[in-house]
């Protein structure tokens, strides 16, 4: 499935950007629903938020934070690539974006537990 012509870091950067974007787009309506539940009173909202105390949910949240950070930083790389003069080393930049996202995600997890 992953054919050899794709074996290069920037194809992976593209794939991750796409997957993270898709995941965020799927998550966002849910997120809005959760926030919207406040309309039905603080208690309902709290009830929904209580879910986030489960370890597994925490991990999933961390995943989301990772994806958001990754998509943000990756997106910034793309905006820079498209709107600033060309610079080499895009693969390095993509790797930096990936690592920074991981750092942010762990920071989140650390703070969360």
């Amino acid at each position: 499935m992953i054919r050899p012509h794709r074996h290069q870091p920037l194809w992976w950067a593209f794939a991750l950007h796409r997957l993270s974007g898709l995941a965020l787009a799927v998550f966002l309506p849910l997120h809005f629903l959760v926030l919207g539940s406040a309309l039905n009173g603080e208690a309902v909202f709290d009830g929904v938020l209580a879910w986030s105390d489960f370890g597994l949910v925490k991990l999933a949240e961390m995943g989301l934070v990772f994806l958001l950070a990754l998509h943000l930083l990756g997106g910034l790389r793309l905006l820079a690539l498209e709107f600033l003069p060309w610079r080499d080393g895009q693969a390095t930049l993509a790797a930096v974006a990936g690592s920074a996202s991981a750092v942010i995600a762990f920071a989140f997890l650390f703070n969360a537990i």
Partner: protein, 241 residues
């Protein structure tokens, strides 16, 4: 003489779109390109094998094929560089219709080059002097950076967007267009920008950089396309495209 005695096991695509890989044994040599292996098979094992080449020195861009899964020019790819355990798999380029075996129909590639308005449209004529243009001007350097394309379609085969959106003009045509948009002698830049701002245009590119990674001439279509996107962005804001 030159032979290192070993054998290569070569799988070669035979037939059209519904073809399959056929296995051949070919002698391994010290000085041997992938094109030489294909030629050897045609000359000694399968006289019906179809493939294309012309210059054999990396100038005409006719000999590109998929070698062990990657698009490459075959006349300048030494077997030692790509063979894995003396094995080679040779298929036609992706994203183009197959005529037969390893030969693709490149018509659509050149049609897109044309449709992108990938040609010079100047003001001066054969009776005018040649324009004075200093080599260090940024515009001239931008032209030079992208001009040495041999239209081999390796980038075109490497790009997934071409595969997914068959109308997409593709990296080679857009790279050429960018050189023209930087050409101070050209007089059709507005029309050309419109030609690459449409449904099939430059903004379909997702900077996968397969084009730049695989281009045998070390060109950077990604950068060229980024330049075009920028120009289309500004033009769209001004309501021009």
């Amino acid at each position: 003489m030159g032979a290192d005695g070993g054998n290569l096991s070569v799988r070669i695509w035979k037939g059209g779109a519904g073809g399959r890989l056929i296995e051949f044994e070919a002698p391994q040599r010290a000085n041997q390109t992938v094109l030489d292996v294909v030629t050897w098979v045609q000359r000694h094992r399968d006289p019906g094998l179809a493939y294309r080449f012309a210059c054999r020195v990396g100038m005409c861009g006719s000999c590109a094929m998929t070698v062990n899964g990657k698009p490459r020019w075959t006349c300048r790819t030494h077997v030692a560089k790509v063979a894995q355990d003396s094995r080679l798999t040779i298929e036609p380029l992706r994203n183009l219709p197959i005529v037969k075996d390893l030969a693709c129909d490149m018509t659509v590639f050149f049609e897109k080059w044309r449709d992108a308005r990938g040609r010079f449209e100047g003001r001066a004529t054969r009776y005018d002097d040649i324009e004075c243009i200093a080599p260090e001007t940024p515009a001239r350097q931008a032209v030079d950076a992208g001009i040495e394309c041999i239209n081999c379609a390796v980038c075109y085969a490497a790009c997934d967007v071409v595969a997914w959106k068959p109308d997409y003009l593709g990296p080679a045509a857009l790279n050429r267009v960018w050189t023209l948009q930087n050409d101070t002698r050209d007089a059709a830049q507005a029309e050309r920008l419109a030609a690459v701002a449409g449904e099939a245009g430059c903004h379909n590119c997702h900077s996968q950089q397969g084009c730049t990674t695989h281009c045998p001439m070390s060109l950077n279509p990604t950068a060229s396309i980024a330049g075009l996107k920028r120009a289309v962005f500004m033009a769209a804001l001004r309501g021009e495209v």
